[in-house]
């Protein structure tokens, strides 16, 4: 940071640096807008957006390089709550949140809002039950807590196993998202895009571990939130929906409900399905009117919340704060920054849908002639890449609701084009999506690599390893796991969101109760925790396999997105029963739990261990 003078260290000047950074980014956006007016091509603008932001992240990653263990694993424990809140928000909001969430609400209506509720409310559990206590513990990784609280290599290994399964399921989806965006913006094949995305991700984390990831994630949050909010405000003002669309889209919801019966939403079904795409057949704001619909909503909410509170890449962010108090308030800030995006997503979905449906708006396409619709630029562009299709099933030359197919993912990406905003906005959105996917991928890769290097290599295989060697192993693992993730992503096994929901269910099945009870139930012991993790993971995986691949009828509506309910219940029962059947933990362990419960005093584990 030599281009302007700073008094003191980097962490003493955070506000100044990031305000300058935000200003610089806005200037860049304005410059792109000016260049677009001057005739610069859309493709070049897209490339510049993605390239510029990745170069900045890589620069931050390089400036944060370190050879110290506590800087590498927990960013030196000097991240202030508000900044940790931003970093957590970027860590948290994945490609799925940024790209797919508004699209999901658009296509699936009210039932999909279970994700919005679940992915925010989980933080109440993190703040009240987990984060402050894990911070007091002073661990580097989540298995570090399990391994020390319950003792023994078996418990540590099982925690590593759950962590790897859950995080790896999740990270492939993120690498897939970076690949999709990179291939689209840079116009390279998807298979190359995936490796390009991985390169960007590793540039942020290889040299500086948690410290580098923290400071790039703050930068990525700023880009992603600007990229999400600016198009929504701009569209809303341009289309006369009001200045603060999030608070005034109530009448847009009402107008959609009025139009739905007229356009046949929910009654007209597609004559022939198009693979990978769907037509709008679900009512926007009508929850299914049955106990089963309510049950499905709350069980999905429960899976996402308990999963949130068990995902190691989120919990480990709270190891980086200077104090227990800071960890707690950092959770509140995280949720605040996350909510800024999550309460905008349904507004975006609603307003985009209104623009497509409402015949009174110039942008509408339903009910227009097929020829006119096919002449629209955004229709042609997205149809060309196989993301959207217009058919004329009944041959009347008019587009009906069941003749318009698209991939839900494109709602966020295409909104600027539907509303007729300049291309610079689309470039901004691409950079935002890239930031969201990269930041989550970084957090996940680091969680996996740290667990393997710290818990498996250092704590179990070679406890005498010197610092240099530990950090070298950590970096080699980071690279190897990233490559494995990119390889799996390039096989394109499931849609982005399927894999994400599974990660939550795996995490809650194996880790939720061993973590919570480790703090809140002093009696919980090693055999109980081992049983809880093994049975939870085993039963959860078995149930997922049976429901998804072996054709078993789901129990009371618990489909493959909700298998965590089954896994976590089994985990709880196994943990409590086995704990009560075996001896209480020794006095030393009980004293350790007492110590974890109060904020003051030394951490359980030393600052370097």
């Amino acid at each position: 940071m030599s281009w302007f003078r700073l008094q003191g260290r980097f962490v003493d000047n955070l506000s100044k640096i990031y305000i300058l950074y935000t200003g610089g980014f806005l200037v860049f956006v304005a410059l792109m807008a000016a260049l677009e007016q001057a005739g610069l091509g859309a493709d070049t603008i897209g490339i510049l957006f993605v390239a510029f932001t990745i170069v900045i992240y890589a620069l931050i990653g390089w400036l944060s390089r370190t050879m110290q263990v506590d800087a590498y694993y927990v960013a030196g424990r000097e991240v202030p709550p508000v900044f940790n809140g931003m970093a957590t928000a970027a860590d948290w909001m994945s490609g799925a949140s940024f790209v797919a969430m508004a699209g999901g609400v658009y296509m699936a209506g009210h039932p999909y809002l279970a994700f919005v509720v679940g992915w925010t409310g989980g933080y109440v559990l993190v703040a009240v039950l987990m984060a402050p206590y894990l911070r007091k513990f002073g661990c580097y990784t989540v298995p570090d807590f399990i391994g020390t609280r319950y003792g023994g290599n078996t418990s540590r290994l099982l925690a590593v196993l759950v962590l790897v399964i859950a995080s790896f399921t999740y990270v492939t989806a993120q690498i897939d998202a970076t690949g999709t965006i990179a291939s689209r913006v840079l116009q390279i094949p998807y298979a190359v895009g995936v490796w390009f995305g991985l390169l960007g991700i590793l540039l942020c984390s290889m040299l500086g571990g948690m410290r580098a990831v923290t400071w790039t994630q703050v930068a990525q949050y700023i880009v992603l939130i600007i990229a999400y909010l600016v198009p929504v405000f701009w569209m809303s003002i341009k289309q006369d929906f009001g200045w603060f669309p999030q608070f005034v889209y109530g009448d847009a919801v009402a107008r959609i409900q009025e139009l739905e019966p007229l356009l046949g939403v929910g009654t007209l079904k597609p004559a022939q399905p198009v693979p990978g795409m769907s037509a709008l057949t679900t009512l926007h704001a009508t929850p299914g009117d049955s106990t089963m619909a309510a049950w499905k909503f709350v069980t999905l909410v429960a899976c996402m919340m308990l999963g949130t509170a068990s995902l190691p890449h989120i919990l480990m962010r709270y190891f980086t704060t200077p104090s227990v108090r800071a960890a707690r308030s950092s959770v509140a800030w995280s949720l605040f920054f996350i909510t800024l995006l999550y309460f905008t997503a349904p507004a975006l979905a609603t307003l985009t849908k209104l623009q497509v449906l409402d015949p009174n708006l110039a942008t509408s396409i339903i009910g227009k002639s097929i020829a006119d619709v096919n002449a629209l630029e955004w229709i042609q562009k997205w149809a060309a890449v196989g993301m959207l299709r217009v058919t004329d099933a009944n041959g009347d030359g008019i587009l009906q609701i069941n003749e318009f197919f698209m991939r839900a993912d494109i709602v966020v990406l295409a909104t600027p084009e539907i509303a007729g905003l300049p291309y610079v906005v689309s470039g901004l959105v691409a950079a935002g999506g890239m930031a969201a996917a990269m930041s989550t991928a970084d957090g996940l890769l680091l969680a996996i690599a740290n667990a393997l290097s710290h818990d498996l290599y250092y704590k179990i295989i070679d406890p005498k390893a010197e610092t240099r060697k530990r950090l070298l192993v950590a970096r080699i693992l980071l690279f190897g796991i990233g490559a494995a993730g990119a390889l799996v992503a390039s096989l394109q096994l499931t849609g982005i969101l399927g894999a994400v929901a599974w990660a939550f269910c795996f995490a809650m099945s194996g880790l939720f109760f061993p973590l919570v009870l480790g703090v809140w139930w002093k009696r919980a012991n090693r055999p109980g925790a081992i049983a809880g993790m093994a049975v939870g993971l085993g039963v959860g995986s078995w149930y997922l396999y049976m429901v998804k691949f072996a054709g078993m009828t789901p129990w009371i509506g618990l489909d493959d997105l909700r298998f965590g309910i089954v896994g976590a219940s089994a985990s709880l029962v196994a943990m409590v029963v086995v704990t009560l059947m075996t001896e209480a933990p020794d006095a030393e362990t009980q004293a350790m739990v007492d110590e974890v419960r109060i904020p003051s005093g030394q951490t359980i584990l030393g600052s370097t261990h």
Binding site: V105, H110, L113, A114, V116, V117, G118, T120, G121, Y123, V124, L125, A127, V128, L129, P132, Q246, F247, V248, Y249, G250, D251, V253, A254, Q257, A285, T286, P287, D289, A294, F297, V298, V301, A302, M305, S323, V324, R325, R328, S329, V331, A332, L335, F336, T339, Y342, F343, P346, A347, D594, R597, I598, P599, S600, G601
Partner: protein
């Protein structure tokens, strides 16, 4: 000032537990109860929104955020009162 006498610790933990239970009840209400009754709530309107939809798209989210900032203050108050807060 930190005081680690066992009386203080007991008082601290029982207050912390009670606070946890209160917040879990509030959480349970906004996470599950309101959404269970979404269809019934949709008969009412708030800011022109059907209330069931509003709670899932915004209401519960705001409740969680406000709840957490209050929780942070309350827990810090308990820590200080019982003499187990960290030094400022």
């Amino acid at each position: 000032m930190t005081d680690h006498s066992s009386d203080n610790r007991l008082m601290h933990w029982s207050k912390t537990k009670n606070l946890m239970i209160v917040h879990m009840i509030i959480w349970f209400f906004f996470a599950y109860i309101v959404h269970w009754f979404a269809t019934d709530l949709n008969q009412f309107r708030f800011l022109d929104f059907p209330v069931g939809y509003y709670m899932a798209a915004q209401g519960s989210l705001f409740a969680f955020v406000i709840q957490l900032f209050i929780f942070v203050k309350q827990q810090d108050g308990i820590d200080r009162e019982c003499g187990v807060a960290e030094d400022d």
